[in-house]
Amino acid sequence: MKLLTHNMLSSNIKGVTAGYPLLIEPQITTTTEVPINPNFLRHIFPKLDYSALVAAAKTLGFSDLPETAGVSDLEDEGFLKRFHHALLELKLEEGALVCPESGRRFMVSKGIPNMLLHEDEV
């Protein structure tokens, strides 16, 4: 699971209002190489929760992202590279995602988070 997806995921357990962002408990993380596309990065940046991305990248061991970033940073190649790396090249293979409000854990296996809810959580 890339951090792009993690940034969009929210816990939708019944009764939970503050189910975002999901906390990451990593066990196995991998890095892949993905060709960089500045157009996509500029398109997706406004939709992201940047601070959640920074925090998630840190838990996966990548701390090179600046704490805050604005639209002007998207013109800077250095920032784009690091942004791209954190968003699309870091992958969580095994671990868990934790709902910040209820503490419920969603296991991640083979890079696939199990978001199936139990019957009482729907």
């Binding site: 969009m8 995921l9 157009n39 083979k110 696939i112």
Partner: protein, 291 residues
């Protein structure tokens, strides 16, 4: 003919390892899925500006449909309920991210983040109650509601579906409308029972005044390359901007019912001088529904 998959088992059981295998090995299945995905992407009508989008593939299964999205340069998140199918997708090293989840429980995504959604042959599974706790209407509501929320303002959703009958089609359409979607159904090859395919094209913004926001189905003159289609075929585009109005029931006229009214009428007839059977306990008694 074998029963529909939806009637044989819940999706997470029907799509087991054996069935999932077919989605890698059967060239026919792969070809059909690729065609459906291409068409769905076409109907999604994303702006042709070379900017990759973040798309959703609902019921992504083994990743066949997702590959079509990757080939067009987009990023995608796939959701499926069958672990076996997702394992096949992992094996095939698809580029999109995969989620194991049940769309009837709602999509666990933040509002306004998705640029478009496709679904190939999946949404009709919501119409069947596979567990005693399932209520298809509520599941459809959870699905369409969460889909509407997670899509960004001008985004579309194209859902290729196989509804079993008119009722299911209606149910799906109504649930979508209730969630706030506008749009319509595009039917390709409407008169060929084999090739007929239905796509629900849903938009999030207010319905546009012209019908051009919902494209024409294939099957009209010069529009298709299929030999089965005869020349005078018509397209079918059903716009569904308004809520479906419920059919009016035949109103019962309460003035001409009841034992009292019958007795009065009989008395009138007697006064006239007609021969009228005697009033007994059987007069105006409630009969079986067949009468």
């Amino acid at each position: 003919m074998s029963a529909r998959p939806e009637l044989r088992a819940p999706p997470e059981i029907f799509y087991d390892e054996g069935e999932a295998r077919k989605y890698t090995s059967s060239s026919r299945i792969i070809e059909i899925q690729a065609k459906l995905s291409d068409r769905a992407l076409e109907l999604l009508a994303l702006p042709d500006d070379g900017i990759p989008r973040l798309l959703l593939d609902i019921g992504c299964g083994s990743g066949l449909s997702g590959e079509t999205l990757s080939e067009s340069g987009h990023h995608w998140i796939g959701l499926d309920i069958s672990q076996a199918m997702l394992n096949v997708a992992v094996e095939r090293e698809v580029e999109g991210d995969l989620l194991l989840g049940d769309m009837g429980q709602g999509l666990a995504l933040r509002p306004g983040v998705i640029d478009g959604a496709i679904s190939i042959s999946a949404v009709q599974w919501l119409c069947n109650a596979d567990k005693s706790s399932h209520n298809p209407r509520l599941r459809l509501k959870a699905f369409f509601g969460s889909l509407y929320r997670c899509l960004s303002r001008d985004a579309k959703a194209v859902l290729q579906v196989y509804p079993e009958n008119l009722d299911q089609r209606q149910l799906i359409l109504t649930s979508a409308m209730r969630a706030g979607f506008a749009g319509g159904v595009v039917v390709d090859y409407p008169h060929s029972s084999k090739s007929r395919k239905e796509y629900l094209v849903l938009t999030c913004g207010p319905p546009s005044l012209s019908a051009s926001s919902v494209p024409n189905g294939i099957g009209e003159d010069g529009g298709s390359s299929d030999e089965d289609v005869s020349d005078d075929e018509e397209t079918q585009v059903i716009s569904a901007g308004d809520r479906q109005r419920p059919r009016k029931r035949q109103k019962l006229n309460w003035k001409v019912r009841g034992r009292e009214w019958i007795l009065n009428k009989k008395e009138q007839m007697r006064r006239k001088g007609n021969v009228v059977p005697a009033d007994t306990k059987y007069t105006g008694r409630k009969r079986k529904a067949r009468f």
